[in-house]
């Protein structure tokens, strides 16, 4: 059995709609409407869906930035929503979030050093006061930024660099789970790849589990081990990356996949296109029965009445969870396995470095961008200040990025 680190059970988050002179509650927006799933240790769970499906609200509820209307989240054996303020604060060391917009999620009046050190202010026991600057510099280096830029302000960085700062803040306390809400969608194509590669590298090194919320199905396929598809506050299909992309059984997943353009003109006109009609209904007044029936190409009368459960249903090879009464597998994306295909390193690189520094003032790479590795050799005189004894997922010795000094 897989090692579950976070388990959400029947989560609901309804927002009241106030109306009339007396501002009475006249209805509810059912943003998250009965969502259950589990996250395994060390894996990436992708959450996809179109705008308004409740995926971002789900992320905020999991962080307890929003109180759920009902439901439970069990985090590493602890019931999160029954915790009081102080224990909750301690718990947040282990579950952190990275936001979508690198332009608004960083305080413009604080230096990067202060922004990344803020988690240490709240959890002073993690790193003693004297060691914080060093800890921040290590974090900057881990995310591929120049540690000397610690006193710069957010506006002095590009979008990609700012997102790295957000990630550095997110991993400062060495959390077990990092919730990433559209972390790359505001970035240009070439920069997006840099940040995705960084996130994968950090996951390997720190043993992080990710909940990766995004609308881009190609990015989610690339980064996720398992994927959940959301529609109008519900999870409609949940399975491994292979199950969702190669044998989806829910008509909504199938339609979504068929709508994603593929960067290959030879596929033009050859791919099956399932065109959905109409718009997503309002979450304040979701359709009866199956929520997707108003737009579904397979809908029968039963679908207007019966609300299908998210349960294991056959997918042609085995079975995985799908919330459709008429679930059946359909190949939408012809997948090529390119695991063994090497990319051509003459044009692009998989290394994680501060790419953005290339474009610094002179337009040329500053000489010290790569010299940071040497400097950090002398940094680590204590037993890794960030390494909490309780954290079984801390960096391992000889970790290239930790750059521990040689120990005799």
């Amino acid at each position: 059995m897989a090692d579950v680190i976070l388990k959400a059970d029947d989560l609901f988050k309804h927002y009241p709609i106030k109306g009339g002179v007396l501002r009475r509650t006249v209805g509810h927006v059912r943003a998250v409407d009965g969502v259950s799933f589990e996250l395994n240790r060390g894996e990436t769970l992708g959450i996809v869906g179109e705008s308004g499906c409740g995926k971002s609200t789900l992320g905020r509820v999991l962080m307890r930035l929003e109180e759920p209307t009902s439901g439970t989240v069990n985090f590493d054996g602890v019931d999160m929503f029954s915790q009081s303020g102080s224990t909750m604060r301690k718990l947040r060391r282990d579950i952190q979030i990275v936001f979508q917009d690198p332009y608004t999620s960083l305080n413009p009046r604080k230096t990067v050093g202060d922004i990344i050190a803020e988690p240490f202010e709240i959890h002073p026991d993690v790193v003693p006061k004297g060691g914080r600057k060093k800890a921040v510099q290590e974090l900057l280096e881990m995310v591929g930024l120049n540690p000397e830029h610690i006193n710069r302000y957010p506006h002095q960085f590009s979008g990609g660099q700012r997102q790295r700062i957000g990630i550095a803040r997110g991993i400062a306390l060495r959390p077990k789970v990092l919730i990433c809400d559209e972390p790359v969608s505001a970035l240009d194509v070439s920069v997006q790849a840099q940040v995705i590669n960084l996130m994968e590298k950090l996951q390997d090194e720190l043993g992080l589990s990710y909940i990766f919320i995004a609308h881009d199905l190609s990015v989610v396929r690339h980064i996720s081990d398992r994927v959940g598809v959301m529609y109008l506050g519900r999870m409609v299909e949940l399975g491994t990356e292979e199950e969702i992309y190669q044998r989806p059984t829910h008509p909504y997943t199938q339609a979504l996949l068929s709508a994603v353009p593929v960067p290959d003109p030879t596929m033009r006109g050859k791919r099956e296109q399932i065109v959905l009609t109409g718009d997503v209904p309002s979450p304040a007044n979701p359709p009866s029965g199956c929520r997707f029936h108003t737009r579904c190409f397979k809908a029968q009368d039963r679908c207007k009445v019966d609300d299908p459960e998210l349960i294991a249903r056959p997918d042609g090879v085995a079975e995985h969870r799908s919330a459709c009464l008429f679930a059946e597998p359909r190949v939408i994306v012809e997948t090529t396995d390119v695991t063994d295909v090497e990319h051509d390193s003459r044009f692009a690189t998989t290394e994680v470095v501060d790419f953005d520094d290339f474009a610094d003032d002179s337009g040329l790479m500053p000489a010290d961008a790569f010299a940071t590795a040497d400097r950090s050799q002398s940094v680590d005189e204590t037993e890794g200040p960030l390494d909490r004894p309780s954290n079984t997922h801390g960096p391992v010795d000889d970790e290239p990025l930790e750059k521990r000094g040689p120990r005799v």
Binding site: E50, S51, S158, G160, D188, V189, S190, V191, Q192, A193, Q194, I196, N197, H215, L217, S218, R221, H222, I223, E241, E242, Y245, L256, A259, V260, P261, V262, P263, D264, P265, M267, R268, V275, G278, D279, V333, T335, T336, D337, V338, D340, V341, E342, H343, D344, S345, R346, F347, A348, T349, T350, F355, D356, D357, F358, A359, D361, G363, L364, M365
Partner: protein
Amino acid sequence: MTTTTTSSAPVSDYKPDADGRLLEVDDLHVEFHTQEGVAKAINGVSFDLHQGETLAILGESGSGKSVTAQAVMGILDMPPAVIPSGAIRYCGQDLLTMPEEQRRKMRGPEISMIFQDALSSLNPTFPVGWQIGEMFRQHRGMNKSDAYAQAVRLMERVAIPAAKERVKQYPHQFSGGMRQRIMIAMAIALDPAVLIADEPTTALDVTVQAQIMALLAELQEERQMGLILITHDLGVVADVADRAAVMYAGRIVAKAGIDDLYARPAHPYTRGLLESIPRLDQKGQTLAAIGGLPPNLTRIPAGCAFNPRCRMAQDVCRTDVPALRDVGQQKSACHFAEEVLNG
């Protein structure tokens, strides 16, 4: 209903040349004079567009793709923008030397544009039907009720359900996809020969994006418009474009037929971009990234603007600006284009 428009539509004074060429942009330069200095947004861009063809202009933010579109449309704010040299010829006539009044009359009936953000491009204080009808009132001198009738016809054409009832509604009462349809209705109202779509689906969900792109393709086919699609999305381009021009730091660095662009890229930037996008139809893909960022346009590197990020760069790349030249069936602005193409 359709007959009324065709009969009332004035015959265009503009005719494409014998090859069906509508638009010809020739060595266009655009600068922005800012406090930080002169930002060279476009540095010698040339391309042409034929009837019924879709040309994609691909690029990341700051590459100059939107400025190119705005220059062609004639909606650049001048100042701060300055066009020091170049020509934009529409059916043989240079738009840049034309009197503004003549050019204004062309916006809509000849060249028309769809913007990325429909919500901020539509006026929130007028009903959508009024805004679509404005095209007919301004350019054709139609009265209010005829213009409304035309608006309904166009809303039906772009598949907005219950057009008759919704014609008097305001932009905020429509979803994002429906607002983009309204933008398209306005853009095609006067049957333009050239349609420029600037990131028309970037703000939309994938299922809606598919609907909008299908609608655009259908309208183009029906009216044989020349379509310029400005985008950063390599997936969308692969789906709809006939040819593509890749822009970097205000220049076109590669120009190719759509199959060549993807299968045989001849510029390191195009190669790098293709390596850096995750693909829906691939499993176990290694993502590689192009290092660095596009340059600040006030300080474009000497030589090839891409050289600081290029892993193939040699000394010559730091001194000599590579010209856009023929390489096989395509064009590339790289000193080592043959190596990139064949390697």
